[in-house]
Amino acid sequence: MIILETRGLKYTYPDGTVAVQDINIEIKKGKKVAFVGQNGSGKSTLFLLLNGTLKPNQGEVLFHGFPFKYDSKSLRDIRKSVGIVFQNSDDQIFAPTVYQDVAFGPANLGYSKERVDTCAQQALEYVGLSRLKDKPPHHLSGGQKKRVAIAGIMAMEPEVIILDEPLSNLDPVGADEIMDLLNEFNQFGSTIIISTHDVDLAYRWSDYVFLLSNSKVIGQGTPADVFKDPELLKKTGLRQPTTLEIYHEIERRGLAYGGNSPKTIPELVNTLKPLDLMWVDVPPRVREGDNLNLGVMYGQYATQSPYEAINATVLHIHPDGRAIVELKRKGIKAGGVLIYDTDSYSLPEIKQILKEGEIVFVGAMGKKSKILAERDGVRLDVSSGVIDKSILMALCGKRCLILTAGGMVDHAFNRIKEYVETSGIEFTVGVANREEGCQWLEETEDIPETLKI
């Protein structure tokens, strides 16, 4: 379903500078969309047009299929539904305290005092700033200010949230927290639009990408399609995403399977082609090129997970009956990732899971879960890039626990499930404190066969 659409949009600033022209875009509901382009390519102006703040010289903007009207009542409805977070938080936060700033939007919508209060409190809790609500904005750090700005928009419960360069001037952890937040809103059904010149971010995060250059849209599609095309990127003045660049270099050297577009480090690792050779005693009738089933290996012969089912392709047979084979490994009892929903949190339960689940790696996503873990002394191994790092650990046969809450539970679960399905590497993933129960606590152990070499 298309939520925002533009037709032949053109905007010229009063001094004659053409900011955007000929923009025809369609944005689908519930997607994560990134506009990528150099500075001055027209991203910010386009955003102000999408929110009705600027009126186009030509063309029109449609919301749910209805063209924008620029009378004050319609504008009000549009601005309620399409929230915009500015690049510089100091431009956006103008009230003397955090709470008053967040409550500004809902109050303007004419809500009752109680409802304004609930909206503001909820938004603040969401971004993890309830404790700072009476502070003046100049006492906050850059990341905190950005979160206040986002809370101010969230409190109005918009259908679409537009963020202009959400990660500029943020440190990596702060940036990660903002992206977690955005993913969570998206999980709850909000459409998220960001602008960025960080190709890595756009490639990794978004569902759909628009490339902007010289006030025009010159390319669009899924990130895998858009960033595959070096010519297009050159025209935009952007470089390839780092993961993709590394992948292409490895692929060119024959060390990775071709035809992939890995977005994250786990996906990149998964494309690697291990040249895994071994001397094996083979039965007499075997020929070169045959496939052998070597059974299950463990211990020092299993390099990627505790137990591996191994198939081998015979490359060369030596006269004395020994052969060189290339191994293809498949982990059968790899690690796993367990997700714990901190909305229903109990410390004894976590301790029990940590002990019985043989968990060696714990991560937390979202401010609330981090605060809980810190309060109760749960040691965190990782607090940024949690999903990717947990997958990498699980691939190495470790068992991980992710503490998170709300929409991020489903987000994390789906991301990991998706990885398991696309990579074909089996490891367990589940949500600990939900109905389905915890799989691996009941898992039966396979009896590993030893292999004679």
Partner: protein, 260 residues
């Protein structure tokens, strides 16, 4: 990072107490101090207010003394002049200075003491307010005192942007200093002029952006002020009334007393 009085007030535990109570205490202190005829009640008030600011309000002691030093300087010069050049009655102290006879008389001395005590008590009262009540708490008070809405809205916006521009001014000044903008007097003047003009232009632009920001969140010409209710607790009430009663008693007892 700059530290201004407002920052200390924001961190003070007394920030969360009832604003009206604090205002009442300050007003009472000012009036009682001014209407005292002996220096003892104002000194008592100054002592109580300092105690409240430093011990209850957790203002750093060092900072507090530093703050008092500035008005103290003015008070002392004024007081010296009063002591030497006014009053009548028997001489307390007299000497010759460069051939001029100087003397302090009893009346003059008493008046000087009284003026000194009054000014210090007034300062302590005001510092109590400044160090325990940040501006953001006073907006509610302004609103309750029926000032025009637009005046309060403006003051809220101005308060917020003072800090934005302060940061901006500091960073511009820093940028000028590292390029030797303040190496001589004439250059300093030039740099300062440039800083001023840049700030003016920036504040103009900021106004535009502010309008945009407010508009994009459905601003309809009214900014609602959310007042936090801070009820007066029993201990505060007891302490305040004890202080009021003691001061009044002192005022009454020292009505005709003289120190010398």
């Amino acid at each position: 990072m700059t530290n201004i009085l407002d920052d200390y007030a924001l961190m003070s535990p007394l920030r969360r107490r009832n604003n009206w109570l604090k205002l009442a205490i300050v007003l009472f202190g000012l009036l009682a101090g001014v209407s005292a005829t002996s220096p003892i009640p104002p000194i008592f008030i100054a002592f109580c207010m300092s105690f409240a600011t430093v011990a209850l309000g957790r203002a750093p002691l060092k900072l507090y003394f530093k703050l008092l030093l500035a008005p103290m300087g003015f008070a002392i010069t004024g007081v010296l002049i009063i002591a030497f050049f006014s009053g009548s009655g028997p001489e307390l102290l007299s000497f010759e200075f460069l051939g001029y006879p100087l003397s302090v008389r009893i009346d003059g001395f008493e008046l000087a003491l009284l003026v000194f005590a009054r000014s210090i008590s007034g300062m302590c009262c005001l510092y109590f307010l400044a160090l325990t009540t940040p501006m953001i708490e006073l907006f509610a008070v302004l609103k309750a005192s029926r000032l025009p809405e637009s005046f309060i809205e403006l003051s809220m916006l101005i308060y917020r942007y003072i800090f934005v521009f302060l940061d901006m001014a500091l960073s511009i000044r820093y940028a000028q200093t590292v390029r030797l903008g303040y190496s001589s007097f004439s250059r300093s003047l030039r740099s300062l002029g440039m800083l001023g003009s840049t700030l003016f232009v920036r504040s103009w632009e900021q106004g535009d952006k502010l309008f945009l920001a407010m508009n994009s969140r459905c601003y309809d010409g009214k900014m609602t002020l959310f007042e936090v209710k801070r009820p007066v607790g029993a201990p505060e009430l007891l302490l305040t009334s004890a202080y009021f009663l003691l001061t009044l008693a002192l005022l009454y007892l020292t009505k005709n007393a003289s120190i010398v």
